[in-house]
Symmetry: C2
Subunit: 206 residues, 2 copies
DNA sequence: ACCTGAACACCGTTCAAGT
DNA sequence: ACCTGAACACCGTTCAAGT
């Protein structure tokens, strides 16, 4: 087949198809992606020269962009703004839970996600955190949101227990309710906010 | 080459070689593993019939076993015991930081790791947590330890910032010191313990 | 510019054949 | 029982060839 008069592919189409595959299969491969787009695998490289790695970067950027779209900064208190930030990011990640394992372990360098972290850094700075405390605050919120997202993407039950060998754990697993991951996220978010508050107090601000 | 008089391979050798590869390359493949053991890829399947997935399971079990080996339960208070548990698991995971992305997203069913979580469940139960609160407590500690381990495995700097576009974030990144991940872990651990304490108080125990 | 098919160097896994 | 080589169905990526 020759070159079509209108391009069949675009970055946006590629990203959307990749997300659909991740949502369905927990992962995507280049041939699968090409098949879904009715195109040959090599065609993909005309639109995304960095290949698979660049596509993953694009997906991360999409999540970052969606998160910022959810963020309507009101004049609320710093802790409410941190809560909003964490919930928005968590919500955006939760729409594609299987994406998190794919994203994990790579350094962030796309503009939307960096913009997102700039937002958080600004809130924490306005709250009064500086220097190393600011970095620790960022890390604290970041680790919690990403950790909770990985947790949300994990299969339930988390633990495959035998009542004989692990009675206490087994009993706990039995009383798991729907929304466990969501409630864990909220509980930990409370914990993180409290800790930020005590860091602020320690550094001498109310 | 025929069958040797003494087996060249064993589960233990395979696991150790796989860990070495993960430590060096952040991952392992069956051919790489075979080459390192001086053997053909197909040989591996005589010792580990579940293939790559079973090897990964074995690595998780090793970490679980090592963690329990670090745990010498003293008659300390529940919060000290939770701290010990989290630090031991964190330490075991930190010895092989690149292993975490490999482990993530699979349900736990090996005995050593289940034993480990049974330990934690027992401590939390003795502290007074029951039913759903116990599950939330387990999740809280679990998410934090694994999230912090992923964080520790991430490349520094976490964010590739341009001072023009992301001034606050850039400034924060500049003041990152060595041990950032370790200090984040400790700070979050404090937060988790405090939150567990307030859950206990809410449910009516001192 | 955009798509194709062929090619390359990889994967994980199976299996008959050897001892 | 334990190791081998060949084979299968996959990967991601490159590249000359087409329009």
């Amino acid at each position: 087949m020759p070159r079509p008069s209108k391009p069949r592919l675009s970055k946006d189409k590629i990203h959307r198809a990749a997300l659909e595959l991740v949502d369905r299969d927990q992962d995507f491969t280049m041939p699968q992606l090409a098949a879904r787009l009715g195109v040959s695998p090599s065609s993909l490289y005309h639109h995304v020269k960095g290949g698979r790695a660049e596509i993953i970067d694009g997906l991360r950027a999409r999540i970052g962009g969606q998160t910022r779209h959810l963020l309507h900064e009101t004049g609320a208190s710093w802790d409410d703004r941190v809560r909003q930030w964490a919930r928005a990011y968590h919500a955006a990640l939760s729409r594609h839970p299987f994406l998190i394992p794919v994203l994990v372990g790579e350094s962030v360098d796309d503009t939307p996600t960096l913009d997102l972290y700039e937002d958080l850094a600004t809130v924490l700075r306005e709250a009064g955190l500086r220097g190393e405390d600011l970095v620790l605050g960022l890390s604290l919120v970041d680790v919690w949101v990403l950790g909770a997202a990985v947790d949300a993407a994990s299969p339930e039950p988390l633990w495959d227990t035998d009542p004989e060998k692990h009675p206490v754990l087994h009993d706990a697993v039995r009383s798991v309710s729907t929304g466990r991951a969501a409630r864990t996220f909220e509980l930990g978010l409370d914990a993180v906010i409290s800790e930020l508050r005590s860091v602020l107090e320690r550094s001498g601000r109310p």
